[in-house]
């Protein structure tokens, strides 16, 4: 066993032990605890949990590489702005009002505000979006185990499933939330240590966000020498209109994702929901401002290390990652094809994930730090997986079983159904983790467009426009979803492969779908009779913090006419 494997194992065992202990200490015995942690999580902890929930294996492992390598700097801004800007929308337009509304799930709000039909549309959309995501997380867990410990993907996924099973089934939202707080701490420390080290080594400035500026000119120069477009140059990869469309789809999609929205139900009060959003964006910004910095100086260091290199002179990290197939020749063959010739950055193909995975070695850090990065990647994958699994299990147990099949079910019975649903969801997710369907990678990026085109307008109009009707919302959601989905299928290479209209990419169509949803909901609502007086009064009341009668009675389970 190598040094790196040993340290990865040590960190994995320590962190998994912590998660299991937290889960045991915060086990729950009622549905409020299982679905929303009893609505009693303090804002900083809730913010850390949102951040861990939100930042997946992809954010942790791939984001820096996507920005630096795949999108050559500036174009990567769509992900940086898109995946953070949505929190402004969440904080201002959704979080306080959904918290005031109470209840357990996103379909709960849609069902109570509009109608039972729209609830079912929402349940379906929530489950599909969450499963697509969770498969990616389980695959991420398998990936880390394979790369760092040399075990098979199956064993990696099974270990990950067992850990999630333990704390999610036992502790529900409460167990998940406190575990996510620990997981955020692990992942951010694991991200920042190598970032500071690489920044110090490459730029002489320890703060990555400042060191970033010091090397841009050199990086642009090196890229020009190799005939690559300027790193900081605008629109070298994506046109201006498409930058706007993709960024918007990611922003509005973030504000419509069920596993993020449900987080605001776990806050103690409306005020705590606002503070949770603030803590969340702060914790997320720590990683999201560091990632593009790491991207630039790791890329610079890679280009320098490989300038005029031969296989005999390349640094250790090159050989190590070439061995597992993450570095190949530009044509995709093994690096041995390079023979004894000298080569440079453009002669090899470097996987996006290398930027983070190899940054400790590129920064000259010892083996324990590499192990810590592996533990951070596992924390990122497990925390996102558990949040998504909770959305699936609560949609099944609360919105389908309790609200539709057996409204007379006792607390104990609902809890049991929730746990069984969770266990089944984990098994299905594990299966997809081991046998990822070919379309997962494609669909994860597109899930944001679907969320933007379906949930966001429905929620915002439900809160800010009393006149929005059930028929209007259902028509809006369906037209937004269908048009977005159809366009995606039509243009994705593995299906339709069409050029599309006006050069709009599949990742940007969600913005158009969202505008269509808004328009259809408004027009149809105008043509249908307004919601009942009582419903309009309920919408009025969720606008103000503090206890109010109608919301209280409603949260107590009293039906309010649509």
């Amino acid at each position: 066993m190598s040094q790196i494997q040993l340290w990865t194992l040590i960190f994995a065992i320590i962190t998994f032990g912590i998660y299991i202990y937290i889960a045991y200490a915060s086990r729950v015995s009622d549905t409020a605890g299982f679905y929303v942690a009893g609505g009693g999580i303090p804002a900083p902890a809730n913010g850390a949990a949102i951040a861990a929930d939100w930042m997946s294996a992809a954010s942790f492992i791939s984001l820096a590489g996507i920005v630096g390598l795949a999108y050559n700097g500036y174009a990567g801004g769509v992900f940086l702005m898109g995946w953070t800007g949505g929190y402004v929308l969440l904080a201002l337009l959704l979080a306080p009002y959904l918290r005031k509304f109470g209840k357990f799930t996103l379909p709960d709000f849609v069902g109570d505000r509009y109608s039972e039909t729209t609830r079912l549309v929402a349940v379906l959309a929530a489950i599909v979006v969450s499963f697509v995501y969770v498969a990616g997380q389980m695959a991420g867990v398998g990936l880390v185990f394979t790369r760092f410990l040399g075990v098979s993907t199956e064993i990696g996924v099974i270990i990950g499933m067992a850990i999630v099973f333990f704390y999610a089934v036992l502790g529900g939202m409460k167990g998940i939330t406190w575990t996510q707080v620990a997981q955020y701490s692990v992942l951010i420390v694991a991200y920042l240590i190598p970032a500071v080290a690489v920044s110090s080594r490459v730029t002489g400035i320890p703060l990555p966000q400042i060191g970033f500026g010091a090397i841009l000119e050199e990086l642009n120069g090196l890229q020009a020498d190799l005939g690559l477009a300027e790193y900081s140059g605008a629109f070298t990869q994506i046109s201006m209109p498409n930058m706007v469309l993709i960024t918007a789809a990611l922003m509005f999609g973030t504000a419509g994702l069920p596993h993020v929205i449900v987080r605001f139900y776990t806050a103690k009060s409306v005020r705590a929901a606002r503070y949770s959003a603030l803590w969340a964006i702060f914790f997320i910004a720590l990683l999201y401002t560091t990632a593009p910095s790491v991207a630039s100086f790791t890329k610079l260091q890679i280009m320098k290390d490989l300038d005029g290199a031969t296989l005999a002179t390349v640094p250790d990290w090159f050989n190590q990652w070439a061995d597992v197939g993450l570095i190949t020749t530009a044509a995709g063959g093994p690096v041995a094809d390079l023979g004894t010739s000298t080569f440079s950055y453009t002669d090899v193909m470097i996987n996006n994930d290398i930027i983070v995975l190899a940054s400790p070695e590129i920064g000259g850090l010892p083996a324990p730090i590499v192990g810590l990065v592996a533990a951070g990647a596992l924390a990122a994958a497990l925390s996102t997986a558990s949040g998504l699994l909770l959305v699936i299990s609560s949609a099944v147990a609360n919105d389908v079983y309790y609200k539709k099949i057996n409204p007379a079910a006792t607390e104990q019975r609902q809890l049991m159904v929730g746990r069984i649903a969770m266990a089944c969801a984990i098994i299905v997710a594990g299966y997809f983790g081991v046998n990822p369907p070919g379309f997962v990678a494609q669909v994860v990026a597109l899930a944001f467009g679907l969320a933007a085109a379906s949930f966001f307008p429905t929620l915002v109009l439900g809160i800010f426009w009393k006149r929005a009707t059930a028929t209007g919302a259902a028509a809006g959601m369906i037209s937004g979803l269908v048009i977005t989905f159809a366009y995606m299928v039509w243009t994705i290479p593995i299906y339709g492969g069409s050029e599309g209209l006006f050069g709009i990419p599949a990742t940007g169509i969600g913005t158009i779908g969202m505008l269509i949803n808004f328009a259809v909901t408004i027009v149809v609502s105008k043509m249908t009779p307004p919601p009942s007086e009582e419903m309009q009064e309920l919408v009025e009341e969720i606008r103000y913090p503090g206890r109010t009668d109608l919301v209280k009675r409603h949260a107590g389970g009293e039906a309010i006419g649509h």
Binding site: P42, A43, V67, G73, Y74, G76, G77, L80, M81, T84, G85, Y87, V88, A91, L92, L93, P96, Q209, I210, F212, G213, A214, I215, L216, E217, S232, G233, A234, F235, M240, M243, V244, T247, A248, M251, K268, S269, V270, R271, A272, R274, Y275, A277, L278, I281, F282, A285, Y288, T289, P292, E540, R543, Y544, P545, G546
Partner: protein, 87 residues
């Protein structure tokens, strides 16, 4: 709160939201994308300014916007006597 107060509270809330969302759009879509080329002519601390907005500045602005929102809403809640105790 009576009806007049409610309307006043809601109007103030909407005005705050409108201002913050305008800044949100100006910084991300404006400085980060639409006006990135002219802004890139200005270099601060090694960063072409438009590039900096799209990779750093917009994210920092988002944090600041939510901080201002939370702070102003706290004040508004106290002013109208609907403040909650815990944060």
């Amino acid at each position: 709160m009576d009806d007049t107060q409610r309307r006043a509270y809601w109007r103030k809330n909407l005005r705050l939201m409108a201002v913050l969302l305008a800044v949100w759009a100006l910084v991300s879509f404006g400085a980060g994308i639409l006006f990135v080329e002219p802004l890139n002519e200005i270099v601060v601390g090694g960063f072409p300014l438009g590039f900096w907005f799209s990779q750093q500045g917009s994210i920092l602005t988002f944090v600041a916007l939510i901080a201002i929102y939370v702070w102003r809403m706290d004040r508004l809640d106290r002013e109208f006597g609907v403040a909650e105790d815990e944060g």
